[in-house]
Amino acid sequence: MIEIRELRKTYVGQDGGLVEALHDVDLDVRPNEFLTVLGPSGCGKTTLLKCVAGLIPWDDGDILIDGTPVRGPGPDRSMVFQNFALLPWATVLDNVAFGLRMRGVGRAEREERARVLIKKVGLAGFETKRPGELSGGMQQRVGLARALAVQPQVLLMDEPFGAVDEQTRRLLQEELLSIWEEHRLTVVFITHSMEEAVLLGDRVVLMSARPGQIAEIVPVPLERPRSSDVGALERSGQYVEITAYLWDRLRDMHEEHRPAKAAG
């Protein structure tokens, strides 16, 4: 489905030196897979996602989607942003329909499709509200509906629930799971939370920083569907084991980059 081959990306850091954001990243995302990407901050996970989205260029390597090289943004992919990226002057309806509008879908059709998605994410009745009148959780529902409205094959999510409170985050995770169980899109989901990575993902891609590269890919053999009883899942031995293992690995990565005094 998505093939990433020896991807390299270097940029000039704030001190003028070169930062290797991605170093020979090789990754296959399977069709209809829910892949989560976990790593410390600065490991290049957002950079990787934006490359796949076609939003930023890379230096070397290839990204193929169903065998076609990525050259820029395309209708097969849509993105959900960490800070929602909603248009503050536009209504919920116009925000959800925005992607369709950019792709030249006529008003009647795009509003009809937008209304269906608004209902799906639980925002029926809020069509004429503006983002400023909504809570963070509701704003990200708008962001999710906008991404789904263009009917992508691949959903790229950049720490989408990082900016909402814990309770809202859990609700959104459950809803994302049930939407995914229904539509079976291919999802690449960036997160810095071990729990979130395990709860949602079929596999967890663990990235390390400086240079950004893939440290390990951890399969998550938890049963699906998971949306029905997230609580029971979180108490299961397998879930606890995998999150504990991921934390061990992440802590090692943090230790490596810590000042020397912490070593003793």
């Binding site: 849509s78 942003f81 248009l87 002057w89 950019m102 792709r103 503006r130 400023g132 009148e133």
Partner: protein, 271 residues
Amino acid sequence: MSALAQRRGHSARARGRLSWRSLPAAPVSLGAAAAAWELVGQVANASFFPPLTTVLGRLVDMASSGLIFSSLRDSLINLLLGFAISLFGGLAIGVAMGRYRKVEAALGVYVYALLTAPSLVFAPIFFSLLGEGRGSIVAVVVMYSMFVMIINTASAIQGVPAHLPEMARSYGAGEGQVLLRVLLPAAAPMIMAGVRLGVGRAVTGMINGEMFIAVVGLGRVVTQAGGRFDSASVLAVLLVIIAVALGAVALVQAVDRRITRWVPKTARGDR
């Protein structure tokens, strides 16, 4: 909406007793200024500072002779033409400078130089290039009002958070769509702030242009009255000019309110 409800609550509470809170600020301020003008004018009894009633009387004379209306029409046409050119140029150059670093690097120095340069310095050049007709005055209006709008528009475009155009691009938006559907609406509140400044400066430019270059419009009336040491006429025309300026600003504010209705919460004082 809550501010409105709160204000309504205030006035309801204050209705029983006389409270300074219940007095509308703008009319009170204007009334006080008018009374002070009249009083000082009467007491001083100086020819260069006639009281308000004398000035208003002169205004009525000028209006009934038709002099004020024909001059006002000339002036307003100059103002409209000059401001329209400034608005169009201000938006186009401002957007280009805000969006493209190269354009900013190339034009920035001229824009800042011309913003701070005293605009009337260019009057003789316009005069020789465009003659003593409308063209020169319109050019002066543009010199006065365009650069502040360019700079505000450029800053407004640069201030749009990067994730919005990025989001639009991710949905396949081209550069034109990014500008029209994302950058301009996002920058609108700050662009409008520049337009308000631009309107005020356009009125100044119109009067200065009329007084110094071509003797037409309200500027001519002021120049002639000034030559006669006729302070009442000068001040009467000044009142008309202030009315024109306030009217123009009110018009822009009405447009501004329509465009920026979405701005969620502001620090605008509600006390």
